[in-house]
């Protein structure tokens, strides 16, 4: 290529870059389903009001309690990481409404396939929060029975679980059950081939699955603009099923939209994509440093849309909760923090032979052989006291 031709191409290319850079990811505002404004005002929505029409003050307080306790648990886990009790923590700060709203929409017989950040959904499913911490402490890779609460193990590799959810949903349909399946993933995962394939499979088999995408605007350091040229919810259209963008910081809207999507699945109407438009208020994980790639002003703007604050305003304005409720919840939060702290500190390291456990369901000659070698090696230190036995 000559110098001239390079120069000739340059302006055209930079003009193209400019065009996209000037434009924010399109479509955010007008298509957003919102039932509760950031100021805590209830707004009418012709399509989705029906799904929360019969919600009681007690249930509203319940959603508030769920969000507060989840945030408290999350803060405790972050502290425990700073204290060296956990190796890593992936905070859900800011995403409480998306997780509690969608989690509370699920039925006991539904099945949930989470990422590694679904602590609020785990709470809704009844998974003991201390069980979530084993993998972050490094004592296991997932410490709960997935079938105990129909809550699959955290999946670390981005997007893989959307296919597991789709397969599971195909099985639900084969069984003739009216359960539904919900797959969680994020804006970053929307670029993964597995997510695209799960859209294809669920669409062609009409699988009863809800794809719940928490678009928290950041995939570690990469903004959503780096993942997609169209709003994520619009991708569903190309696969032949509906996509909806919901205010991910509005717990009522998340509840309503997820209920709607789950009911579609139960009725045999196939998959739905829900994009919960939210914000990761904290770092990607405790190892991340968001000051390197995003402005404080952006976070401050989102703080004004805090999911917990707006429901509190609404509860207070509508006299659904009194001082006593909030005071009691504060005490409950502190008790939860304490319980989690104590449980983590008391969590023992696994037995060294756990390395060889559950590698296979039916056993494997090589694993048996290596376990025996490892045992003999360990036993060789028996005469030397505890020197090598750390």
């Amino acid at each position: 290529m000559t110098v001239e031709s390079t120069a000739a191409r340059k302006p055209r290319r930079s003009a193209g870059v400019k065009r996209t850079a000037a434009k924010k990811p399109p479509g955010a505002r007008p298509d957003l389903v919102q039932l509760l404004t950031p100021e805590g005002k209830r707004v009418k929505n012709g399509e989705f009001d029906a799904y929360v029409a019969d919600i009681t003050p007690e249930e509203l307080r319940g959603l508030y309690r769920d969000m507060v306790l989840t945030r408290r648990f999350d803060a405790e886990a972050t502290s425990l990481q700073r204290q060296g009790e956990l190796g890593l923590w992936a905070s859900l700060l800011g995403q409480e409404a998306a997780q509690i709203g969608s989690g509370r929409a699920t039925r006991e017989d539904d099945y949930v396939f989470p990422t590694y950040r679904e602590h609020g959904v785990a709470w809704c499913r009844g998974v003991d929060p201390t069980n979530l911490l084993g993998m972050f402490r490094g004592v296991n890779n997932g410490g709960w029975d997935p079938n105990g609460n129909n809550f699959h193990l955290y999946t670390i590799v981005i997007g893989s679980q959307t296919l597991h959810a789709t397969g599971y949903a195909m099985g639900v349909a084969k069984d003739g059950a009216d359960s539904a399946v919900i797959a969680y993933f994020g804006d970053g995962a929307s670029s993964q081939g597995d997510v695209a394939e799960s859209f294809t499979f669920s669409a062609v088999y009409n699988a009863p699955v809800v794809f719940f995408c928490q678009n928290n605007q950041w995939a570690i350091s990469e903004p959503t603009e780096r993942q997609s040229r169209v709003p994520l919810y619009q991708r569903a259209q190309g696969y032949g099923f509906p996509g909806v963008r919901v205010d991910g910081n509005d717990v009522l809207a998340c509840l309503a939209v997820t209920k709607w999507a789950l009911e579609r699945a139960r009725r045999g109407e196939g998959p739905t994509l829900v994009e919960a438009y939210t914000y990761r208020m904290g770092a990607h994980t405790t190892s991340d440093d968001p000051t390197k790639y995003r402005a404080d002003e952006e976070r401050e703007a989102w703080e004004a849309k805090d999911p917990i604050l707006r429901l509190r305003t609404y509860l207070e304005d509508s006299n659904h909760a009194d001082e006593g409720f909030f005071a009691e919840l504060d005490a409950e939060s502190e008790a939860l923090g304490r319980r989690v702290r104590e449980a983590v500190r008391a969590m023992p390291d696994p037995d060294r032979f756990a390395i060889f456990e559950n590698v296979y369901a039916d056993g494997h000659a090589l694993v048996d052989e290596e376990r025996a070698q490892f045992a003999a090696y360990q036993a060789s230190f028996a005469d030397e006291g505890e020197g090598k036995q750390r």
Binding site: D145, L163, T166, G167, G171, A365
Partner: protein
């Protein structure tokens, strides 16, 4: 009807049919496995008899096939997945290695993943690129997977039965160039363990260990060597994970010489592991280093060159001569 002669592909078809009949949770999934019966017709007629709900034509997405099979297994199904050709498995490699292999351990044993992944493999059929590879070592290297390959119809029938009954994921490598080879299938015989090797020809001077398509080559090599007065034992390993080192050891302690043969590249292949372990186990019995015969560290060549690349009778006998010369 106790024993019946049939082609290896037909034996797998019959085994799948038996499994579909016996257990409503068994599913067949893959590209073109339905009406067409698979590109090698291994699933021929199954969709007609068991319906589209159990013999499932999938979208053309290997990761999707394996990923949804995992989900179905979590729901209690026992999917038998077909990957159309060896070289097409890699889009699914992440799901196989990262999820399928590790999920049982991740769940501390609380969930099981009874998924069988069938992969027609190996060369010798004059195919285009990506249709002749032998990637078994890439799977055997991964804890959580079991890897097997039958060499004949009788084994194919029973090993498929056992793979489907296994609560662990099994990668089932089918020697595609032997699909049409006929041998006896005895459906009433009680099979040996899935991962046990078998002596297919007894001998005293040297052990040839092979699996899948190379067993026949080794049997021919042993027959040719016999004419020269050499007595070769041929061991059909049948399983690459776990490998039945005990049976190899027993044989080598008698013959004192071992040559491992596979189509896959020699470097870091199944034969490398066998050479290392048998050297450890049989150091004082061996009269010669363990030798390997296999593919080269080069992409599988165009079809016109594959006879140069694939181990044949002469290359096996050359290795035998080199071993006996020590």
């Amino acid at each position: 009807m106790t024993a019946e002669k049939m082609a290896l592909a037909k034996a797998i078809n019959e085994s799948l049919r038996t499994a579909l009949d016996a257990d409503p949770k068994v599913l067949i999934m893959g590209e073109d496995v339905g009406k067409l019966g698979g590109v090698f017709r291994v699933t021929d007629g199954l969709q007609k008899d068991f319906g589209e709900d159990r013999v499932i034509d999938t979208p053309l997405a290997e990761s999707g096939i394996v990923g949804t099979a995992i989900g179905l297994a979590l729901r209690g199904y026992r999917p038998v997945v077909e990957i159309q050709f060896d070289g097409f498995v890699f889009p699914a490699y992440d799901q196989i290695v990262t999820q399928l292999a590790k999920m049982h351990a991740r769940a501390l044993g609380k969930i099981k993943l009874p998924v069988v992944i069938r992969i027609p493999y190996g060369g010798g059929i004059g195919a285009v690129e990506h249709h002749s590879e032998s990637p078994e070592a890439l799977f055997a290297h991964v804890a959580g997977l079991k890897v097997v390959s039958p060499s004949n119809a009788g084994d194919a029938y029973w090993m498929m039965q056992q793979a489907i009954h296994s609560d662990d994921p099994v990668i089932f490598f089918e020697p595609k160039r032997r699909y049409w080879d006929k041998s006896e299938v005895n459906r009433e015989a009680i099979p040996g363990p899935l991962h046990r090797a078998r002596v297919v020809r007894e001998g005293t001077d040297l052990t040839l260990a092979a699996y899948g398509p190379m067993v026949k080559v080794c049997q021919e090599a042993a027959a040719a060597a016999q004419e020269e007065g050499k007595s070769l034992e041929v061991l059909d390993l049948r399983s690459m994970s776990p490998i039945d080192f005990d049976s190899i050891q027993t044989s080598v302690e008698r013959t004192r010489r071992l040559v491992v043969v596979h189509e896959a590249p020699v470097f870091l292949g199944t034969g490398a592991e066998i050479a290392a372990r048998i050297t450890e186990r049989c150091f004082y019995h061996l009269e010669a280093p363990v030798l390997r015969v296999g593919g080269y560290h080069a992409p599988y060549p165009p079809a016109r060159l594959e006879d140069e690349y694939l181990p044949g009778l002469d290359r096996v006998l050359d290795a035998v001569d080199r071993s006996l010369a020590y």
